[in-house]
Symmetry: C2
């Protein structure tokens, strides 16, 4: 138990978010308890139960708090820059401790199906996949044909970044993100200006 000044509101929530993430790294998803998190945060278990029903809800709250929001440019000409920025946001987020928490939940999906389902809801509420918010925005602006933004197209950027991690064991550099946008996402959307191909204009 850590003695300290009494924390309230945002400061308390922040401390509890840190505590659940540290506890997760140390004991793993299957052994998270309200007791353990409370002890680590130096607070009473009842304080946790006032806001969250169980350790999973507290963990989801930490994940939601750190999950970034894409902010597409208001102008139509910025599709390419917005897509690159979305993928940079993904790479930045992946350095945050909550990215490890997401990985843990997905890896142990069978053992914790209800937590994985709640995580899916959280992603849906936060704009689904990285690049999806940008794609929807530019479809509304008319930069891209609305029908071309399918769930698979929305998942393409994330899939290539995640695959890079698996194959190479480290985060992709900016040049790789640019290639994902120029060689894959823009061509799939029907914008072949970035690559040579049969659809490219003269």
């Amino acid at each position: 138990m850590v003695a300290g000044p009494r924390r309230r509101g945002a400061a308390l929530v922040k401390a509890l978010h840190s505590a659940v993430l540290e506890e997760l790294d140390e004991v793993g998803l299957g052994r998270l308890t309200m007791d353990g998190i409370a002890r680590r945060a130096g607070t009473a278990r009842t304080t946790l139960y006032r806001r969250w029903a169980n350790p999973g809800e507290l963990l989801l709250s930490a994940i939601g708090e750190a999950y970034p929001v894409e902010e597409p440019s208001p102008v139509a000409g910025e599709l390419r820059a917005d897509l690159i920025r979305s993928l940079e946001l993904l790479v930045e987020w992946a350095r945050h401790p909550t990215a490890r928490a997401v990985q843990a939940i997905l890896a142990e999906r069978r053992a914790h199906p209800e937590l994985a389902a709640r995580l899916d809801e959280l992603f849906d509420a936060s704009g689904r996949r990285f690049t999806a918010t940008v794609l929807d925005h530019h479809a509304r602006l008319g930069t891209i044909a609305p029908g071309s933004v399918t769930p698979l197209v929305e998942n393409l950027g994330e899939a290539m970044v995640v695959k890079h991690w698996i194959d190479v064991g480290r985060e992709p550099d900016r040049e790789y993100l640019v290639q994902i946008v120029d060689q894959l996402i823009l061509p799939v959307l029907g914008d072949r200006s970035a690559v040579a191909g049969p659809c490219a204009g003269p």
Copy 2:
């Protein structure tokens, strides 16, 4: 030690491949030993050393043996069918115990960098990514523009299948593989016949 008839040649290699995969599932990559594998296979450690220098080489031999080879159609009109078949081959291979071995090596890349590097060599020799052999073949036939087959394009199909596994926790069905080909790979190659988009013909 399992007593049994003396095995030679292909039968012996097959038994040792099974033994290394079982041993991996039980003790993990970091604790594979020639002793443990030999004991499991009911053979002498010297028998293993006659062919392989260490447990990693024996594991790579098992992975290489089970790794499937894509066989593209000799005719030009079969690009779409060949791509779907490549992704089906990937999903089938992923059910094999050596797919878990590949996953283990990639996940522990930092602890076993030399093994991960040898795995990359093995993939390069086996046609790199799933779909790459098919893409190269059809580029030679002239079905697709040679410049459109970049390393990222070659990795696209695998990336979408792997991402599906991570997101959903189970293998994709055939319909999903067809969508990967129709909504992503063919459009990226400049074939927009499968989707509505600004490049599609009348």
